[in-house]
Amino acid sequence: MSDVAIIIPMYNEEHAIRNVVLELKEKYDYEIIVIDDASSDNSYNEACIEGVYILQHIVNLGQGAAIQTGIEFARTLGIKYIVTFDSDGQHNADDIEPFIKVLREKKADIVLGSRFLGKAENISTFKKYFLKASRVFTFFSTGIWLTDSHNGFKAINIGDFPDFEIKENRMAHASEIIDLIKRLKMKYIEMPCTIRYTTYSVQKGQSMINAVGIVIEYIIGRLTR
């Protein structure tokens, strides 16, 4: 069994998940853990490809909760390194290996993907500047300056950090992870990655209005954690 797991939170991705998993299986011998966050379509069956671990939430909890479920399951398998990977095909499977290499060489405990160091294919101008502006919020709330603070593509050494636990169930988990870096004194670096914005992924993704809700969710979460 590999000591690396690719964790894929999934919600209603019946059209994309199969190709995402097949590509990962073709390129890596890592464990693949898909967490179906109570999809109402055929995602569960589409993701159930030989050798893949599949878990299901009986009610929808959110992406943060799904990733944490994946982490808890990965710990039961004795996994040391995880990669969080989107189920809608936005992430590039080729980016995984360099991230894991950095973790194995102990250059960092967590590697954060950055589309602004790498490539953001077909990103809208508004989204680009919105994401760049959100770096300022992250800096003031955590004291950590990142070029891309809301990128879902990350590689994390969970083996050496048993206290690494995501408590934000929904999208505010991205900011919470930056908090965890600081609280657990994790060594971090940013590395370039590619994010592909397709018509499908843009339709499925977060709207800019939701971002306001995420900020409020994060602030309340921080006050009550």
Partner: protein
């Protein structure tokens, strides 16, 4: 006038019973809700008394005092409900996660 008073007292008592005894409250929270209820109850029965109490606290008008008490009680109830909801949400997350992990399967078909 008497019917409006009875109506207000009924609504107030119903809300009070719901919040003070159906939620898991800490003692100080329950006491605050009871005090708020009693104050509003008395002011409904005897509105001029609210003017006397308001003057004592330097507020001026009884109706202002009632609004302040209502705001305080409503804010307290909102916070209590938020905490209660969060507690339930955290418990639900743990249950859903445990079921997910316990029933994890390794797919055997493609």
């Amino acid at each position: 006038m008497i019917f409006i008073k009875i109506f207000l007292i009924l609504i107030l008592t119903l809300a009070f019973m719901l919040f003070a005894f159906s939620l898991r409250l800490k003692n100080f929270q329950r006491i605050a809700v009871i005090l708020g209820y009693l104050a509003l109850f008395i002011f409904i029965i005897d509105p001029p008394l609210s003017d006397v109490v308001a003057r004592y606290f330097g507020i001026g008008y009884g109706r202002d005092l009632v609004i302040y008490i209502l705001l305080a009680v409503m804010s307290l109830i909102s916070i209590i409900l938020f905490v209660d909801t969060k507690t339930n949400k955290d418990a639900l997350t743990k249950i859903v996660r445990k079921i997910g992990v316990d029933n994890a399967k390794k797919c055997t078909k493609s």
